[in-house]
C-alpha cells in the first residue's frame, strides 16, 4: 500500500470562473485542439493497455486457446468457474492469501502509524530528517534485492547460521522453513515499506490544528492523552481511508515477493491467488481457468472497496471517493 489512491480529483484546487466558456461545442473543441493533441498519446495508452485488456476477461468464459484466439475458442459458459471451485489448489491459495493479508493488516498496517507518531515527536529537525531518509530507503529497493539480502542474513548459509554454528553445527534455514514463511513475508513487508508509508500519516498529523494541542494541554492532558485525544482522532480520516484501500486489497498480497520465494518452501505454503493465476495460466497454459480466477478476484476486490467506502460514509466519515 502506498499513498496511491488517496489522490483524487479536487475540482476546487484552482479557482475557475463558474461560467462555461462561450461558443458552441465545435468552436470550443477547435479552440482546444492543441490540448487534444497532447492528450492523444496518453488516451491511446489507457485504451489499449488498460481498457481493451478488460475485454480479454472473456477468456474466463471460454476454453481459450492462444492459437485459436478469442473468436475461434469455444464458449464454455461458467464451466471454468465450476472447475475452479473444485480445485483444491485454489482453495489453498485463497486460504494462504487471506491469512497473509490478515497478518499484514494486523502487523504491517499499524507500524507506519506508530513510527509516524514517534517521528513527529522528535524535536530535532535534523535527526528527524536523517531518520526519514533512512527509513524511506528500502521502499526503493526491488523485491529481488530485498530477498537476496534477507537470504544472506537468515538463509541456509547466511549470517545467522554462521553465528549459531560457532556454538554448534546445526544450520538454521528460516528462509526455507514453511513454518516461518508467513511471518517472514510479513516481516519483509514491514521492513520494506513501513518507513515509506509514514509519509502520509506524518502529513496527516501536521495538518492537525495546533490549537487543539494547546487547549488540550491547558485542560491538563499530558503527552499520552494528547496523543489519544488529539493526534489519533485528527488522523482518523486518513486512517480510515488507508484501511479501506487495504481492505480492497485483501486478496492481493505481494505477488512478486511471494513468487520469488515460492520455490524455497513449495506451493502448499506459498501459493496465493496471484501466483495461482500466473502458474496455471502463463506457465501451465490453462488460460480459461486462470483468467476466471483472476476475474473473480478483481470483481471481489472492487466490490469490497466500494462496499467499505459506502459503509464508512454511512458512519459519517469521509470516504475514499
Amino acid at each position: 500500500m502506498s499513498v496511491e489512491q488517496v489522490a483524487r480529483e479536487r475540482p476546487h484546487a484552482r479557482p475557475t470562473p463558474k461560467a462555461r466558456p462561450a461558443g458552441s461545442l465545435r468552436t470550443r473543441m477547435w479552440r482546444a485542439r492543441t490540448m487534444y493533441l497532447m492528450m492523444l498519446p496518453g488516451l491511446l495508452y489507457f485504451v489499449v493497455f488498460c481498457y481493451v485488456p478488460l475485454l480479454g476477461n472473456i477468456a474466463a468464459f471460454q476454453d481459450y486457446s492462444p492459437f485459436l484466439g478469442f473468436s475461434a475458442s469455444q464458449w464454455v459458459g461458467f464451466h471454468n468457474f465450476a472447475v475452479m471451485f473444485d480445485d483444491p489448489q485454489l482453495v489453498t491459495a485463497a486460504k494462504n492469501t487471506v491469512v497473509l493479508s490478515f497478518l499484514q493488516i494486523v502487523f504491517a498496517f499499524p507500524a507506519p502509524i506508530a513510527l509516524a507518531v514517534m517521528l513527529n515527536s522528535v524535536m530535532s529537525e535534523r535527526i528527524k530528517r536523517w531518520v526519514q531518509a533512512v527509513v524511506y530507503l528500502p521502499h526503493f529497493v526491488s523485491w529481488v534485492i530485498v530477498i537476496a539480502i534477507w537470504q544472506q542474513l537468515l538463509g541456509g548459509d547466511g549470517l545467522l547460521t554462521n553465528l549459531i554454528s560457532d556454538h554448534g553445527t546445526q544450520s538454521v534455514a528460516i528462509m526455507s522453513d514453511p513454518h516461518w514463511f508467513k511471518s517472514l513475508i510479513t516481516a519483509q513487508v514491514i521492513w520494506k515499506d513501513t518507513g515509506w508509508n509514514t509519509i502520509i500519516f506524518l502529513a496527516a498529523i501536521t495538518r492537525i490544528d495546533s490549537q487543539l494541542y494547546e487547549s488540550a494541554a491547558v485542560d491538563g492532558a499530558g503527552t499520552w492523552r494528547r496523543l489519544w485525544h488529539v493526534t489519533l482522532p485528527g488522523m482518523r480520516g486518513v486512517l480510515v481511508l488507508m484501511l479501506i484501500l487495504r481492505l480492497g486489497n485483501v486478496l492481493t498480497v505481494g505477488f512478486e515477493q511471494i513468487l520469488l520465494q515460492q520455490h524455497t518452501v513449495g506451493a502448499e505454503t506459498a501459493q496465493v491467488l496471484d501466483t495461482f493465476v500466473y502458474t496455471r495460466g502463463v506457465v501451465g497454459g490453462d488460460w480459461g481457468l486462470a483468467t476466471a480466477a483472476g476475474l473473480l478476484k478483481g470483481v471481489i476486490a472492487t466490490t469490497l472497496v466500494v462496499a467499505a467506502n459506502k459503509f464508512v460514509k454511512r458512519t459519517g466519515s469521509e470516504g475514499a471517493f
Binding site: V3, V6, A7, R10, A13, A32, M39, G42, L43, Y45, V48, F49, C50, P53, L54, G56, N57, L119, M123, E125, V131, Q132, V134, V135, L137, P138, F140, S142, V144, I145, Q151, Q152, L159, N162, D166, W191, G195, I200, L202, A203, T206, D209, S210, Q211, E214, A217, T223, E256, L259, Q261, D274, V277, Y278, V282, W287, A290, G294, G298, T302, V305
Partner: protein
C-alpha cells in the same frame, strides 16, 4: 520537507489577527510553551527505538556491501563485524568484465533511461491536457478513465495476451510500454500543475504564447520538484521490475539485471556462467552473488540522496493536500 514535518506550533496556522497574541519567534524545532519537558528516560527510550529501526534498515545493506568486498568468507566467520579481513575487488572485476551481468546491466540502464523518458513525456502531456476540464470538452471523461485504472485492472492473463497481440513479446518495449503511464503519477503531476497560479498562465496566453510554449517554458520549470520525484518513481519501477522481463522475454540474452539476480542469487544457479573468462579462478560464490546484488542496488542509492528531499512535497502536492 520541512514545511510538512514541523511540529505543530501554537498559532502556526492562524493568521495573526489583531486579537491574537503576536506569534512568538522561536527556532522551528523548539518545544511549544504548553508542552512539558520530556523525561530523560522517555527521550532515551525514543532515541534507542529509532536507532534500532535505522540499524535494522542499514545493517543488512552494509553487510551485503562488506561481504561483496571481502576476499574470502572471512567476514561471515567473524560474526557481525562489517570489516572484511582481506579486501578484494575480485568479484566486481569478474562480473563487470563483460559477460552476462555486464550485458544485463546495460539492458537495465537502457530500459530505465528510455522508459523513464517516455513515461515522463506521456505523463506530462496527458496531465497538462487534463488540467482544464472546464474548457476542453470531453477531458473530464478522459480524467475518469485515468482514475478508473486505479480501481481495477485487467489482471495478469489479459495483460499478457494483450502484449502478445501487439507483438511486443520478446522485445524490450514489452518492459516499457505496458506500464508507460501510472495513473497515480499522472494525478500527482496534474495536481502540481493545477497548483500553479492561473493568472501566470493566462498572462502568458495574453502575451501570445501557445500551449506548447506555456508547458515548456512556464509549467515545467515551475514543477521541477514534482517532476524529479515522479521520474524517480518511474525509474525505480523500471529498474526493479523482473516480472515483465520474466514473462515477456524468453531470450535469456535479453535479461535485465533483476532477472539475472533472481536466477543466480535466489534460485542458486551455478555462478560459473557469470564469468566471461573461464581460465581465471572464480571468487567465492557468495561474494560474487553479493557483488551482483550491490551492483543492482547502486544506481538507486546514487540518485536517492538528490531526490529524497523532494519526496514529501512531491507526494503531498499530489495526494492529500487540499
Amino acid at each position: 520537507m520541512a514545511d510538512t514535518t514541523t511540529r505543530p506550533r501554537p498559532h502556526s496556522t492562524a493568521a495573526p489577527t489583531p486579537g491574537n497574541r503576536p506569534r512568538p519567534t522561536r527556532r522551528p524545532s523548539a518545544r511549544p510553551v504548553w508542552a512539558e519537558r520530556p523525561s530523560r528516560v522517555g527521550t532515551a527510550a525514543k532515541g534507542f527505538v529509532l536507532a534500532v529501526i535505522c540499524l535494522a534498515v542499514l545493517y543488512p545493506m552494509v553487510y551485503i556491501l562488506a561481504v561483496s568486498l571481502s576476499a574470502q568468507n572471512d567476514l561471515a566467520g567473524d560474526g557481525l563485524l562489517l570489516w572484511p579481513e582481506h579486501w578484494s575487488l575480485q568479484s566486481y572485476r569478474t562480473i563487470l568484465e563483460g559477460g552476462l551481468v555486464t550485458r544485463a546491466l546495460v539492458v537495465s540502464i537502457l530500459v530505465t533511461v528510455v522508459g523513464t523518458a517516455l513515461s515522463m513525456a506521456l505523463t506530462v502531456l496527458t496531465a497538462y491536457s487534463l488540467t482544464r476540464t472546464r474548457e476542453v470538452p470531453g477531458s473530464r471523461f478522459v480524467l475518469w478513465l485515468v482514475l478508473g485504472t486505479m480501481l481495477f485492472s485487467a489482471g495478469i492473463i489479459p495483460n499478457f495476451l494483450m502484449v502478445k497481440q501487439t507483438g511486443l513479446l520478446n522485445s524490450y518495449w514489452a518492459l516499457i510500454i505496458p506500464g508507460a503511464i501510472n495513473a497515480f503519477n499522472l494525478v500527482v503531476v496534474r495536481n502540481a500543475f493545477m497548483e500553479l497560479p492561473a493568472e501566470l498562465l493566462d498572462s502568458a496566453r495574453i502575451d501570445g504564447a501557445g500551449e506548447w510554449q506555456i508547458l515548456w517554458r512556464i509549467v515545467l520549470p515551475l514543477s521541477k520538484a514534482v517532476l524529479a520525484v515522479v521520474s524517480l518513481f518511474y525509474a525505480v519501477a523500471l529498474w526493479s521490475d523482473f516480472f515483465s522481463a520474466m514473462i515477456y522475454l524468453n531470450d535469456t540474452t535479453k535479461w535485465p539485471i533483476q532477472l539475472v539476480l533472481r536466477q543466480y542469487v535466489l534460485e542458486g544457479q551455478s555462478m560459473t556462467q557469470l564469468a566471461p573468462n573461464p581460465n581465471r579462478p572464480l571468487p567465492q560464490p557468495q561474494t560474487l552473488q553479493m557483488a551482483v546484488t550491490v551492483v543492482a542496488t547502486l544506481p538507486i542509492l546514487i540518485v536517492y540522496p538528490f531526490v529524497q528531499r523532494f519526496f514529501t512535497k512531491g507526494i503531498l502536492v499530489g495526494a492529500i493536500k487540499g
